[in-house]
């Protein structure tokens, strides 16, 4: 009997030890990160510097009505309730959405988050004569949330937002819209001053801001989600646009984590004991084909399919030391929304040549095309060597590719103008990497006829009646399963129609020392720093 009790006690103790969270004793520390940004992103809650700005000075400090669930590495990040606990489409008027706000949320300055704060921030973005108007922040908001037509407070914790038409995926777009503290703005008096003493609701608060040098975040002990109070004491972020400089900073121990290590440095970093963390995420590195040009070779579907079949994606992955993966569509092949397109673009030069022969092209009459490429830019990976590789690769199937090399700013100007405008320099395609998040709201902006440049992001002027009908159905539906099935079908249409040359997806690489613990590389542009600690 005594032996049994002793044995039971031992088993219970062992079980208790196994059940104890291993991280509790090791929490804390300061994490120093070198970003690829050329400057500290804006600290006011409308970060610039693309999605990297949102990654480091968006979600850690500020929050939207919806947030990303960044806890899983094994599937694409999904949306979850954020500053809104729940939301629903108005039963009588599908153009209106009701958001029920979270109670007990406080800004870093101690003031309350409520419906007044929501309306004050929406005025900041969308009301040109509001005292707190932020023209730049407003432009970001209109770019990422183009469907906010009206808004009003219903009670202290309920707001209504109106759209121009019923849009089932509208709440998704709210994940990019952050809320800053009205009380702190009153104290600061302007957005320039607010930037020096910012206040949001996120798990980290900004404690020091040195323009062009660094920004320091500290743990927000009062954070509303007690399960996500950061383990780290501090995070220091440094802008370091030059890849070799980031590498030197990591190798010399001045930072603990660098974004985007140069592919050539991966073997030596691994050999020196650094961790290279990669994972899939919603990034595509394509050639966006110009359908607007009257003599565009891509008007013949056989030519654009041949282009996709001739592309040696695996070769490109090898060139990048494994920091990319082949792209067979906009979504990853493993993504639930990838669907089952008929066209599976494996590397098949014979098939490509046969398709081209059918279309009237061959060694004597190659497909001549000029592609606009940038020398660098947000999400552009290594555009020069990668495109040179493709140029050689495609030559074997009788594609004669030439390049129009421009800087990132020139490319952005071209994308905002029609494909036939002088800004396009007469190119037949553009190598522009696009930040397509998994949520569908961003997906539509690049493929609808209504968003043809200059009205939207569909620079290539690709149009497909089936895609249009599917989007219309998705927008008017309220059945999640039906919506998911239609998104899959919409993706299949884009792939089968070879709307782009799908080339590779980036692998979201970052290198870090072995002292960085607890990091889960979410399949997202954004990452959760609250679970990280330094050993």
């Amino acid at each position: 009997m005594i032996w049994n009790i002793q044995r039971a006690a031992m088993v219970a103790t062992a079980a208790l030890i196994l059940a104890m969270p291993p991280v509790a004793a090791k929490a804390g520390g300061t994490l120093r990160i070198a970003m690829t940004a050329s400057d500290v992103p804006t600290t006011t809650g409308a970060p610039d510097n693309g999605f990297e700005g949102l990654r480091f000075l968006g979600y850690p400090v500020y929050e939207g009505l919806l947030l990303w669930d960044l806890t899983r590495a094994d599937k694409p990040a999904e949306l979850r309730p954020g500053l809104a606990e729940s939301w629903e489409q108005d039963k009588n008027d599908k153009t209106k959405w009701i958001f029920h706000l979270r109670h007990g949320v406080k800004f870093h300055d101690g003031s309350d988050f409520n419906a007044d704060a929501v309306i004050w921030n929406l005025d900041r973005y969308f009301k040109p004569d509001a005292p707190q108007v932020d023209p730049t922040g407003g432009a970001f908001a209109r770019a990422r949330d183009p469907w906010i037509k009206s808004y009003r407070k219903i009670d202290d914790f309920t707001v209504e937002i109106g759209n121009p038409r019923p849009i089932s995926y509208f709440p998704n777009a709210l994940v990019y819209l952050f809320f800053s503290s009205p009380a702190q703005f009153q104290k600061a008096g302007s957005w320039v001053e607010f930037a020096k003493q910012p206040s949001g609701t996120g798990p980290f608060k900004i404690t020091e801001f040195k323009p062009r040098v660094s920004v320091t975040l500290a743990r927000n002990e009062q954070y509303w989600d007690k399960n996500r109070i950061p383990k780290l004491d501090k995070v220091v972020l440094f802008p370091m646009p030059e890849a070799t400089t980031r590498l030197a900073a990591l190798r010399s121990g001045q930072v603990d984590w660098i974004e985007v290590p140069p592919p050539d440095a991966v073997p030596s970093l691994k050999a020196a004991g650094f961790e290279i963390v990669t994972n899939s995420y919603p990034h595509t590195w394509p050639w966006v084909l110009n359908f607007g040009k009257p003599d565009s070779p891509w008007k013949d579907i056989r030519v654009r399919r041949a282009l996709n079949y001739c592309t040696n994606r695996e070769g490109l992955v090898t060139l990048l030391n494994g920091l990319a993966e082949p792209a067979y569509g906009i979504y990853h092949k493993t993504d639930p929304y990838f669907g089952h397109p008929k066209e599976q673009y494996t590397y098949d030069p014979d098939k490509a040549k046969a398709l081209l022969k059918e279309a009237g092209y061959g060694p004597d009459k190659p497909v001549a095309a000029k592609v606009m490429i940038s020398n660098s830019g947000s999400g552009q990976m290594l555009p020069l060597p990668m495109n040179e590789y493709l140029q050689q690769n495609l030559k074997e199937c009788n594609f004669d590719i030439s390049f129009d090399v421009v800087d990132w700013g020139t490319m952005l100007v071209a994308t905002r103008n029609p494909p036939t405008a002088p800004q396009a320099h007469g190119v037949d395609a553009m190598n522009i990497s696009l930040a397509h998040a998994t949520e569908f709201s961003r997906f539509t902006t690049a493929f609808l006829t209504s968003t043809f440049a200059p009205n939207g992001f569909n620079w290539q002027h690709w149009s497909n009646p089936e895609f249009e009908a599917l989007v219309s159905k998705i927008e008017n539906s309220s059945d999640p399963e039906e919506i998911a099935a239609d998104i899959r079908r919409a993706h299949e249409v884009i792939v089968d129609d070879a709307a782009w040359l799908f080339i590779v997806h980036d692998r979201n690489p970052r290198a870090m020392t072995k002292h960085v613990k607890g990091f889960t590389s979410a399949q997202s542009w954004f990452q959760d720093l609250t679970r990280v600690w330094m050993e």
Binding site: A139, A143, W191, A195, R212, A248, R416
Partner: protein
């Protein structure tokens, strides 16, 4: 002398006006403006155009230029399109950081260059001449961003005795050895070019002076070698000083490449950022202030030359 300085200052105003017009024109030759870069790719043209109106970029170029000029005359360089911060404060903070590098780099470069050049000339054709010539030619011709990367690899990564990047915890003038260590690699890198340029210049000038008759005359007169060297160097000083002035101007402008490799938040990096972002107010303000420094340094050099060499005063 007062008339000389006044005239030069009047020239300066004209030069600065010209510089500002050229910079303004050049930045507008590149497609796009700051807002095209600032906003994400998915921002449609209408959103960009609306913001252009807010910032006044929709107005004709000459109106934009004169609005800027009007502010500058009142001592206001405007605000950055990207950060909203006043250009003046940001620029002088960046210039301060560059001064922390430029002054020590100039001191090291000029003194080493003068020493090496003089020793090479006085040992013309001998081993010492060849040695110092090799050193100065290396300093002149070696790409300094390459040297910077090599120094970082050797002294910060393989043999980690110095920091690889940044300015240390405090920023600004170093107040401790810990912060001063951050200066060593960029200063060594930056001093190479002035060392090479001054070294070559001093060598050829001293050689030219030595070939004149007066050193031989001085020698025949029985003057000590040290005195002869002094006279030769005094004669070699004015052209060397002119080159030093130019080199100091370049250093103050900050080396974009060196500041990028060392992630040093100086004026070179500041201007580079402004060019890539088309941040017109920042770029205009920076070029204007740097051009002023350049002109003023050269004016100071001209005055110093006149003080040393009575022939120039005549």
């Amino acid at each position: 002398m007062a008339q000389f300085i006044t005239l030069r200052l009047l020239h300066t105003i004209l030069i600065l006006f010209g510089v500002s017009v050229v910079t303004f024109g050049l930045i507008h030759l590149i497609p796009g403006n700051p807002l095209d870069i600032l906003l994400p790719p998915e921002a449609p043209k209408e959103v960009v155009e609306r913001l252009k109106v807010e910032f006044g970029f929709d107005k004709p170029l000459y109106l934009q230029y004169f609005a800027w000029l009007g502010r500058v005359v009142r001592g206001n360089l405007g605000t950055s399109v990207f950060t909203g911060l006043p250009v003046t404060g940001e620029l002088f903070s960046a210039l301060g950081n560059t001064l922390c590098l430029a002054v020590p780099a100039a001191l090291v470069g000029f003194s080493l260059g003068t020493t090496f050049g003089t020793l090479a000339a006085f040992n013309y054709g001998r081993a010492l001449d060849k040695l110092f010539s090799i050193i100065t030619i290396l300093g002149l011709s070696m790409p300094h961003y390459w040297l910077a990367i090599v120094l970082v690899i050797v002294l910060a990564v393989l043999w980690p005795i110095l920091p690889a990047v940044g300015m240390g915890s405090g920023g600004g003038l170093p107040t401790s050895w810990e912060d001063a260590r951050f200066l060593i690699l960029p200063v060594v890198t930056l001093s190479m070019i002035p060392m090479g340029v001054i070294g070559r210049m001093v060598r050829s000038t001293v050689l030219e002076i030595l070939s004149q008759e007066f050193p031989t005359a001085l020698q025949a007169k029985g003057l000590r070698r040290r005195r002869i060297v002094w006279h030769v160097l005094k004669n070699a000083a004015p052209p060397a000083m002119a080159v030093m002035g130019l080199q100091l101007g370049y250093l103050l402008g900050g080396s974009i490449l060196v500041e990028t490799v060392f992630n040093w938040p100086g004026s070179g990096q500041f201007m580079n950022l402004a060019i890539f972002r088309r941040d017109i107010p920042v770029l205009q303000g920076t070029v204007l202030v740097l051009a002023s420094f350049f002109v003023l340094i050269n004016l100071a050099v001209d005055v110093a030359q006149a003080l040393i060499d009575p022939r120039i005063r005549r």
